[in-house]
């Protein structure tokens, strides 16, 4: 059984083919890195996997369960979680409320119009634990608008982890972070247990290469190189894409 399997995925925006017959197989517990220059179609690939975009052709399966026709919300219930390249949180709320909303998304409680959300102690305790896991427990009641960029990145990860995903998609989790913040996020990602499969898009090779076991290099919506870190680094096509001929 594979954790995530993508088969012959196609997507075009008008005349622009963003993914061309894309195939990807990620094993359970694997750490997979997807790299490629800007415009390679990496984020589009994530959007196709999570259902935020509909593919023109091809299929996506999660632990052998067909996802291709399922709406985005259903995929979250099946164990697929993600973070965004451009931080997408709830700026008017506190950190605790942000993570509580993430937990609530998978709970039947979300339809309840009668109970007080702030009195749901078990849910709030889980949200506090998720924030503590990313080192933000002490900021739980701070409004998100009053936090730093690095803290918001960690809130995104806390929200994704709070949902206990089976497959976690991280879209440039180190983007825009300072050296110290990168170190913190790296420690946090290394601490995620192996029952969570991780697929990560990242440009920061110093950090990402340490993390991933297998690397996929994308260019113009296609896989150019795929293999272990050593194989990908040694492949001349990788250098060609990043440095030119």
């Amino acid at each position: 059984m594979t954790a995530l399997s993508i088969h012959k995925l196609e997507k075009s925006f008008g005349g622009l083919r963003v993914t061309r017959g894309f195939d990807l197989v990620v094993e359970p517990g694997e750490r997979r890195l997807i790299i490629g220059p800007n415009g390679a179609g990496k984020t589009t690939l994530f959007n196709l996997v999570t259902g935020e975009l509909r593919p023109d052709a091809g299929s996506v399966t999660l632990f052998d369960q067909e996802l291709t026709r399922l709406p985005s919300r259903r995929r979250a219930h099946l164990g697929l979680s993600r973070t965004y390249q451009i931080i997408t949180l709830f700026p008017k709320d506190t950190l605790l409320r942000n993570v509580t909303l993430s937990l609530l998304g998978l709970s039947r409680l979300r339809w309840n119009p009668l109970l007080r959300l702030d009195r749901q102690r078990s849910l709030i305790a889980l949200a506090e634990a998720a924030l503590a896991r990313v080192g933000l427990g002490h900021l739980a009641h701070r409004p998100l608008a009053e936090t730093s960029y690095g803290e918001r990145r960690r809130v995104e990860i806390a929200m994704a982890l709070a949902q206990n995903p089976r497959v976690l998609l991280l879209d440039e989790p180190f983007a825009g972070l300072s050296v110290d913040e990168r170190r913190d996020v790296k420690t946090l990602l290394f601490a995620i247990p192996r029952d969570v499969t991780i697929v990560m898009i990242e440009h920061d090779m110093d950090v990402a290469l340490d993390f991933a076991e297998r690397i996929t290099v994308m260019h113009f919506g296609e896989i150019v190189v795929e293999g272990t870190r050593a194989e990908v680094v040694a492949d001349p096509r990788t250098k060609e894409i990043y440095l030119g001929e």
């Binding site: 999570t50 997408t88 949180l89 709830f90 993430s102 998978l106 119009p113 109970l115 007080r116 959300l117």
Partner: protein, 329 residues
Amino acid sequence: MTATRIGFLIAAVSLLTVPLWVPGDYYVSVCSQILIYAVFALGVDVLIGYGGLVSLGHAGLFGIASYAVAYSLAAGVGHIAAILIGLVLALVGTAIFAALSLRVTGIGFIMITLAIGELLWGLAYRWISVTNGDNGISVASRPAPFGIALDAPSHFYYATLFVFALSVFATWVFIGSPLGASLKGTRDQPRRMNALGYHVWLIRFCACMFSGLLTAIAGILFIYYTQFISPQTLTLTASAEPVLMVISGGSGTLLGPIVGAALVEIVKNIASAYIERWNMLLGAIFVAIVIFMPEGLVPGTTRLVRRLLKAWVKAPTAAVEPTPGEPAP
């Protein structure tokens, strides 16, 4: 006791004693009208303030409830049955309204709600066999719950106040509930909410239904208040009024729509007795609010009071600060 609780207590005592301190039956009736429109504005605020959905067709839903009660009573149905018919028909209408308008958001939502509102106004105006057209339908009597006739303005006021209190409480519960939190999430980040596992459309649909329920309650109170309904109640202006109440009072707050309703109804019913062009006055007030308190009267006043308190607390500290060149005391 916190400032909020003291404020709530003062408001509750003031509302409960209105017939004692308000001069004359006319003004007691105006207070009833304020409460009716406050319930209407609360319903509209559920969508605008918490769902980010501006409706310009809610007078149509208000009208469905009013017409249904008026028509049922004219057909010889009892008050309880007429009220139930009004509620059910308004909710069915809301479900259709929501199913059609929630296909889009933003400007598209505003335009579809406006179109549905105009459609309902057209029905009220032209479906003469049911609505009696421009002549409207009169209601002969008000109900007498527990044997208390609601003909006297003070009796009707207390009945309205009771329904108003229930509506405010229901809105408070809804907004603080997991479903209310989900609704606010769909207002701020619908894409993110979808990815988190929420059914954004259905959450908005539920919000529309709750909004429609409050609007129907206001419509039923209105028909018993005026004892007459005509297509004038369903015009675009009638739909825009609660939107203005919400925006002027402060959207996304419980108190804002109530303050907005009070402002509009006071200008409409009291200031209009002294100023011929009262519409202009109302317009000038709205412009002033948008310029000086764009977030609305309630959040704006709260911000102003906080700033004044902060300055007041800082003032004694500043007085003892040494001036440059002088030694500290």
